[in-house]
C-alpha cells in the first residue's frame, strides 16, 4: 500500500504541492487526474523517489521513502516499474535491448532465459518481431508499448504511468488503456496512472483522485467522481474553459 501524507513541495516561490494526501490500495489502479501544470508529474516524481518533499511522508508498504537514500531507496525501487511520459527508451539501444536492459542489469537473468522473457514481454504488448528496430524507427504508440514492456518485464509490484497516452490518437489511447487493464488483470500489480484522458481513463480505474492546485480535492471510484458536486471536478470533467479573470 502507498500512503501519502501532507506532501508539500515548492520550487523557489512557487508552491506546487500543498499538504497533499492520498492512499493507494494494493492491487488497484489509481488514476490521478488534473489540469496540465497542476503538479501531477511532480507528485509522481516524489512517488518514484526522483524528488524529495519539503514536508510530508510517502509510505510504501510501511516505509517512508522520502527519508531513504542510496541503497535503501534502490531496494524499494527494485519493486517499481515506471512508464515515463515520452517512453524514455534508450535511443542507442534496439527495442529488444531496451526491454532486456533491466533484466540484464537489475535481475542478472541468464542469456537463454532473457531472450524468452523479452520476446514474451514484447508479445504481451502486441509487438512481436520489432525487437531489432531502434526507438527512432517505430511510431509513438509503439514506443509507448515498448516502454510498458520494459517497465513490466521484471514483474514489478507497483507500476507508475506518467501520462502514458499523451500525443496519441483516440484509437491508440484506448489500445494503451486496455493494455494496462489487461496486464493489470494478469500480473495484479498496483498501478498509479497520471492522466488527463477524460472520460476514457475512467474505464480502467478502481479509484480516481483529482489533483487541483497542489491538493487532492476529490477521491473515489470513477462513478463517484463523475457524479461529484465539486465544481472544480465537474469543470475539469466537462472540459469547460476558464471564464474568470
Amino acid at each position: 500500500m502507498i500512503k501519502v501524507e501532507g506532501l508539500t513541495k515548492s520550487f523557489g516561490p512557487q508552491k506546487v504541492l500543498r499538504e497533499l494526501s492520498l492512499d493507494v490500495a494494493t492491487g488497484t489502479i489509481t488514476i490521478v487526474i488534473g489540469r496540465s501544470g497542476g503538479g501531477k508529474s511532480v507528485f509522481l516524481k516524489h512517488l518514484i523517489g526522483l524528488f524529495r518533499p519539503d514536508a510530508g511522508r510517502i509510505m510504501v508498504d510501511g516505509v517512508d521513502i522520502s527519508r531513504l537514500r542510496g541503497r535503501d531507496l534502490d531496494e524499494i525501487r527494485r519493486t517499481y516499474g515506471v512508464v515515463f511520459q515520452g517512453g524514455a527508451l534508450f535511443d542507442s539501444m534496439s527495442c529488444f535491448d531496451n526491454v532486456a536492459f533491466p533484466l540484464r542489469e537489475k535481475v542478472r537473468t541468464p542469456p537463454d532465459e532473457l531472450a524468452k522473457r523479452v520476446e514474451a514481454a514484447l508479445a504481451q504488448v502486441g509487438l512481436e518481431g520489432v525487437g531489432a528496430k531502434y526507438p527512432a524507427e517505430i511510431s509513438g504508440g509503439m514506443r509507448k508499448r515498448v516502454a510498458i514492456a520494459r517497465a513490466l518485464v521484471t514483474e514489478p509490484q507497483i507500476v507508475f504511468f506518467d501520462e502514458p497516452t499523451t500525443g496519441l490518437d483516440p484509437v491508440l489511447v484506448n489500445t494503451i488503456h486496455h493494455l494496462i487493464l489487461d496486464l493489470h488483470r494478469r500480473f495484479r500489480f498496483t498501478a498509479v496512472v497520471v492522466s488527463h484522458e477524460i472520460p476514457e481513463i475512467f474505464e480502467i480505474a478502481d479509484t480516481v483522485a483529482m489533483l487541483h492546485e497542489g491538493r487532492i480535492v476529490e477521491v473515489g471510484p470513477p462513478a463517484a467522481i463523475q457524479g461529484s458536486t465539486n465544481p472544480v471536478v465537474q469543470k475539469f470533467i466537462k472540459g469547460e474553459p476558464d471564464t474568470g479573470s
Binding site: L50, R77, F84, F90
Partner: protein, 264 residues
C-alpha cells in the same frame, strides 16, 4: 515567515552575496559529481562495455581530426621555426625545436582542444538529450546508477584516450615538420631526427603525458557534468554544450600554464 525587502543601500551586497552563494553551490555540486563518479569508477560492478563504447566515442571517432590538425600544426611549426633558425644559422636544431614544442606543449593542448570540440560537445549533447528525455531518470528508477553507466566510463575513457590522442598528434606533427623541413626546405634527414634524439628526453615526454592525462579528466568531467545538469528543452542542451566546450577549453589553458610551471 515573510521576508522583508532589503533597503536599497544594501541591495548591491545582496546581489554579491547571492552570486557568491550560487558560485559556491555550483562548485560544491561540481565537486560532488566528480566524487560520485570516482566512487562508481573504483567499486564493482564495472561497466566494461560502456567503457569500450566511450573509448570508441571519444577516441576512435576523433582520429581523423587529430591526424589532420597534428599534420598541419607540425608543418606550420616546421616552416616557421626553420625560417627563424636559418637567420642564426641554426637550422640543424629544427627537429628538436619541433619535437619539444609538440611533445611538451602543443601536442597535449591542441589535441585536448580538438577532442573537446569534437567529442566533448557530443558527450554533453548526448547526455543532455538523455536528461531531457528522462532516459537518465529511467536508469535511476531502475535502481541503476547513472554515474556508473554514463559518467564513470566517460571519465575513464578520457584518461585512456587523451594520452593516446596526444601521442598520435605528436608523431604526426613531427612527421609534418619533417615533410616541410626535410622534403621541402632541404634539411638533411639525419640532422632532423639525429638532433631530436639528442635533445628530447623521457622527462619531456612525461610532461606531455601528465598534461594529457589531466586534460582527459578535466574535459570528460566538465562535459559529463554539464550534460547531466542541462536546463529545459533544446535550448538548454545547446547552452550546456556551449558552456561545456568553453569551460573545458579555458580550463585546459589555465591548467596547462599551472602544469607547465610545476613540471619545468
Amino acid at each position: 515567515m515573510l521576508e522583508r525587502p532589503l533597503a536599497p543601500a544594501l541591495r548591491p551586497f545582496d546581489a554579491v552575496g547571492g552570486w557568491t552563494i550560487a558560485v559556491v553551490d555550483s562548485l560544491g555540486r561540481f565537486g560532488t559529481f566528480f566524487a560520485e563518479a570516482l566512487a562508481a569508477l573504483v567499486t564493482p560492478p564495472f561497466k566494461i562495455r560502456a567503457f569500450v563504447d566511450r573509448i570508441h566515442f571519444i577516441g576512435y571517432n576523433s582520429l581523423l581530426i587529430i591526424f589532420l590538425t597534428g599534420a598541419f600544426t607540425g608543418m606550420v611549426l616546421g616552416l616557421q621555426i626553420y625560417l627563424t633558425l636559418v637567420r642564426f644559422g641554426s637550422e640543424a636544431f629544427l627537429g628538436p625545436a619541433v619535437a619539444l614544442s609538440l611533445i611538451r606543449e602543443l601536442g597535449p593542448v591542441l589535441a585536448a582542444l580538438m577532442v573537446t570540440g569534437r567529442a566533448g560537445s557530443a558527450l554533453t549533447a548526448e547526455l543532455g538529450i538523455m536528461r531531457i528525455t528522462e532516459q537518465i531518470d529511467a536508469l535511476t528508477v531502475m535502481a541503476l546508477s547513472p554515474m556508473r553507466y554514463l559518467a564513470a566510463p566517460s571519465i575513464l575513457a578520457g584518461l585512456v584516450t587523451f594520452p593516446l590522442m596526444t601521442a598520435l598528434f605528436d608523431v604526426v606533427g613531427i612527421f609534418g615538420g619533417y615533410l616541410v623541413g626535410v622534403k621541402l626546405l632541404g634539411l638533411s634527414e639525419g640532422t632532423y631526427f639525429g638532433e631530436m634524439q639528442t635533445f628530447v628526453g623521457i622527462d619531456d615526454i612525461m610532461v606531455g603525458f601528465w598534461k594529457s592525462l589531466s586534460f582527459g579528466v578535466i574535459v570528460t568531467w566538465v562535459c559529463t557534468y554539464k550534460g547531466f545538469n542541462v536546463g529545459h528543452g533544446a535550448e538548454g542542451v545547446a547552452r550546456a554544450t556551449t558552456q561545456a566546450v568553453v569551460l573545458s577549453s579555458v580550463l585546459i589553458l589555465v591548467w596547462d600554464y599551472f602544469m607547465g610551471s610545476v613540471l619545468q
